[in-house]
């Protein structure tokens, strides 16, 4: 299985507000790419462009899976999910008045995932034993960390090939942030996923990333592998605020 996400030179915005400007990225098969930046720099907008929820005004977004090219700018969100892309959205967006189990089963809505429901469910319950214990509980009644686990598990229920994770650390205690990030790495390896993760927490994100992209005011100002990121002056100045 080969997968490749190529984002070339895209602009996007909301009305007169430009959120992304000439953004290019490349996520290769089995890679974990981290999109790094503080609030309001366009991370979520970029994720939404990949999911077809925001349409770029310029540029191309191509996803190749097993030799088949998909032009993501022409597909609806539902169609993008159906070709094997799942997103863990910012703020989790669970169905609060449905049970944990119902949330997971909704994750398997796409036809290709329905056949694998038993396998995926037992995998999710194994990865997150707490979800099994609480499968009859309403999703809205769980704590933030548990909800984040459920959101990730729900995305995995769709048997994705490409997983987008938008700000997994928001609203979590530091220990939970670390656990969540580690879990994403484990799941990625077990599932053979390709991951694109947007994150503000630089140190946590680069623990599991192969490659990082730094986005400032809607533009990618630096990209490189983790070693390059860590020693780059620009990164220290703009991002970490620890000028040498």
């Amino acid at each position: 299985m080969a997968l490749e996400l190529t984002i070339e030179n895209i602009d996007a915005g909301y009305g007169a507000v430009r959120a992304l400007q000439g953004v290019s990225m490349h996520v290769g098969n089995g890679e974990t790419a981290a999109l790094l930046g503080t609030n309001g720099n366009g991370k979520s907008t970029l994720m939404k462009c990949v999911m077809g929820m925001v349409r770029p005004t310029r540029g191309t977004l191509m996803l190749t899976i097993d030799g088949v090219e998909h032009d993501l700018t022409k597909l609806s969100t539902e169609e993008i999910v159906n070709i094997g892309v799942a997103m863990v959205p910012e703020g989790r967006r669970l169905f609060p008045r449905l049970t944990v189990e119902e949330n997971l089963l909704l994750g398997a809505f796409r036809p290709q995932a329905r056949a694998e429901i038993a396998k995926n469910a037992s995998f999710c319950y194994e990865a997150f034993p707490l979800l099994k214990e609480r499968r009859r509980q309403l999703a809205g009644s769980m704590s933030g960390g548990q909800q984040q686990m459920l959101a990730i598990a729900r995305a995995l229920m769709s048997s994705p090939k490409l997983l987008l994770v938008d700000e997994p650390s928001v609203g979590l205690a530091p220990i939970l942030v670390s656990q969540t990030i580690t879990k994403i790495k484990e799941l990625k390896e077990q599932y053979g996923l390709t991951v694109l993760m947007a994150e503000q927490n630089f140190h946590q994100a680069i623990r599991i990333a192969d490659r990082g992209y730094i986005i400032v005011h809607g533009e990618i100002v630096f990209d490189g592998n983790v070693a390059e990121l860590e020693k780059n002056d620009l990164v220290k100045n703009y991002y970490l605020g620890t000028a040498a």
Partner: protein, 287 residues
């Protein structure tokens, strides 16, 4: 004492019938958040459809089932129109939707008056007019038929909503449409389908309405209070709750009817509705 027992048993049967005529609204209003006050009008439309087929010799229950596909299409068309003209344009959809469905009520009522006149209509079937003797009590067979159908309807719908992919998506759609998109389901199509199902079920429930008693074009007004009371009492969107709430309303009405007289009975549904909204707005089984 016997009088009270009679009232309770009769209330139980009528209550299940109330649940049956409310399940469609429980989907449309409880799950989809559509202010569907034309629901009772569709119920009466189903009753008149049954009346017509019955005159051609059809059994009323069979007629009700036969009406379902047509009602499904009617529901899909009405939702589509409501969505394009109101819901899609956003924020005050609730209030303007209310005006829209109020208009639909009048169209249905006036249409029925023009075609059938204002006289009461009823259907004929072997089980109408007979009753079953249980001890000292005589239970009208038409109520027992409605009771059985009510169980089939509520349990069937409840299973559909919890056991199928589309059913679960229907339960989720009003909670977060964007999240549902991320599951690969189109929220508008899901709602349209759900509204179609709600209307189809209402068509069949209309057959029960005319089995239970004679029907005239404006009888829907009595059922606005009853159906909304059942749905709110149940907790929005809870199917099993609908059955329990229907029974509570049925028994309360029946007791009030026996003890205070018929003129008080219509106040029961709105009374229960207000009390419920006051003390437990999420309903008995609300999540």
């Amino acid at each position: 004492m016997d009088l009270l027992l009679d009232a309770i048993v009769l209330g139980l049967l009528v209550g299940c019938f109330y649940a049956a005529v409310s399940v469609g609204l429980s989907v449309a209003f409880g799950l989809l958040d559509v202010p569907h006050i034309a629901h009772p009008a569709f119920l009466v439309l189903g009753a008149y459809g049954t009346y017509m087929l019955n005159r051609m010799g059809w059994d009323p229950i069979l007629a009700g089932v036969a009406l379902m596909p047509a009602f499904m299409l009617l529901g899909i068309a009405v939702y589509r129109f409501y969505y394009e003209t109101f819901e899609r344009r956003g924020s005050d959809a609730g209030l303007r939707g209310l005006a829209f469905f109020f208009g639909v009520v009048f169209i249905v009522e006036v249409g029925l008056v023009m075609v059938f006149g204002v006289d009461q209509r009823l259907v004929e079937a072997p089980y109408i007019g007979k009753s079953l003797a249980v001890g000292d009590m005589r239970l009208p067979l038409r109520l027992l038929v409605a009771f059985a159908m009510a169980l089939v309807l509520t349990i069937g719908l409840s299973l559909y909503l919890s056991k199928t992919f589309t059913g679960r998506a229907i339960k989720a759609v009003a909670q977060d449409e964007t999240a549902l998109r991320l599951m690969g389901a189109n929220p508008v199509r899901i709602k349209q389908w759900a509204f179609g199902i709600a209307t189809a079920v209402t068509g069949l429930a209309g057959a029960l309405l005319i089995i239970v008693g004679p029907v005239e074009p404006t009888i829907d007004r009595v059922y606005i209070g009853r159906t909304f009371c059942v749905v709110v009492l149940a907790g929005l969107g809870s199917m099993s709750g609908t059955l329990v709430a229907g029974i509570i309303l049925g028994i309360s009405e029946s007791i009030v009817l026996t003890l205070l007289g018929a003129s008080w009975a219509p106040a029961v549904s709105f009374g229960l509705l207000l009390v419920m909204l006051g003390i437990r707005p999420q309903g008995l089984f609300g999540r």
